[in-house]
């Protein structure tokens, strides 16, 4: 199998460090030894293939998929974007998973102890597959900010967690999407783990085109994954 096309390398200018003095939990959890560089094999350029039908339309509508006896409370939003590789090719038929707090800043997760109300009609997780152009689209409720124990008076900015696969296991990405103009972003050690221009790529953009008249504001969040390098390696 000599015809493997390696993926574009991890761009360390765009990716956070494992140990980050601002984010305290990294201290005991991030690897301390340098990563070992290995040759690309078929293992890294293959990965799970999900059948798009396994994610239903309801899975992509978080305003509906947790309803019990009414509508969830909060501001309805639409979040959409394209998943591309670094060469600009759309990542097609690929699973996108999201999870988030409700409008009060509370997660359904059993270990979330934040003293803010759960919403009986909001679950806060969903998924969809990208289409032929790499486009995904969710309807949801704008998540609230929530406190966390990293330091005194620490609050996470409003954010939505994203999980993506791409062309192979080496392109796997888990990240978070933020909202434009959030005053907590400059104060948040997690967002600030990739400060400056790379952080801008994690902040969605308000879009009047995506916004639906009388229904919901629209935000665009494009995602760029590693993928097959267009030209063969020159070694």
């Amino acid at each position: 199998m000599n015809d493997i096309t390696p993926f574009t390398s991890r761009d360390w200018d765009s990716q956070p460090n494992y140990i980050d003095s601002g984010y305290k939990s990294t201290t005991l959890r991030g690897p301390t030894q340098p990563l070992v560089k290995i040759p690309t094999t078929l293992t890294e350029v293959t990965g799970p293939v999900f059948t798009p039908a396994r994610a239903t339309d309801l899975d992509a509508d978080l305003t509906r998929n947790g309803r019990v006896n009414g509508e969830p409370l909060g501001e309805r939003i639409i979040v959409t974007g394209r998943v591309l590789d670094e060469m600009g090719r759309p990542v097609r038929n690929s699973l996108v998973e999201v999870w988030q707090a409700n409008s009060t800043g509370r997660y359904v997760h059993k270990v979330d102890q934040h003293d803010a109300p759960l919403d009986p009609n909001f679950y806060g997780a969903g998924r969809c597959a990208t289409d032929e152009n790499g486009v995904y689209r969710f309807k949801t409720i704008k998540p609230g900010a929530y406190p966390w124990g990293n330091h005194f008076n620490a609050w996470r900015p409003n954010h939505i967690h994203f999980s993506l696969f791409g062309a192979g296991i080496a392109s796997r990405l888990v990240t978070q999407m933020y909202f434009p103009g959030d005053p907590l972003i400059p104060l948040d050690p997690i967002a600030q783990a990739t400060p400056g221009e790379p952080l801008e790529r994690l902040i969605s953009k308000f879009s009047l085109d995506v916004t639906e008249e009388g229904y919901a504001l629209g935000y665009v969040f494009d995602i760029v994954l590693r993928g097959p390098n267009a030209t063969p390696m020159e070694d």
Partner: protein
Amino acid sequence: MAGNNMLKQTPSQTVGPYFAYGLTPTQYGYSQLDSLVAPATPEEDTPGERITVIGQVLDGAGKPVDDAMIEIWQADAEGRYAHPSDPRGSNSPFQGFGRCGTGPDPMNRFRFDTIKPGAVEDGHAPHIAVLVFMRGMLLHAYTRLYFSDERDANAKDPVLSAVPADRRDTLIAQREETPSGTVYRFDIRMQGDKETVFFDV
């Protein structure tokens, strides 16, 4: 490389403490959403040796991590991946991907009931790709599990050979025969003397 025309990678961010109801809901007992991904349970008719991979994720203090998520990616028993980039194509119904959180188990173990993969190519040892996600990791870690009963193949494997000899043991899962079947024990140490080798791939 396409150089300046390339788009810039989206930065990674931590999976955080609250992934389970979205990514592993069935395992954690959330009934509102079905897991798309199980811990790699093969179908009845999937060819191959049944094995269980089990282990803990240990932090720098040696404490088992109770909010990690482990994903595995592996070939079928004949070393073929169920993915279009593998020209041989897997003809088994086995998908090769699994996901397991460390929260529900009383000892905070992850557990995968799967099959032992075959060697993907000549000269390569059978292995499973392992991805480690958790609160406190801004970027997931990537490693590989190799098998203790594949000593000769491991000695020739080009990826294991890229690892300093004194650290290779961190990647070898230890085979044990138990009343309930074959178990490979694979603990993942994030830090310390026996820190698991993680790869830049």
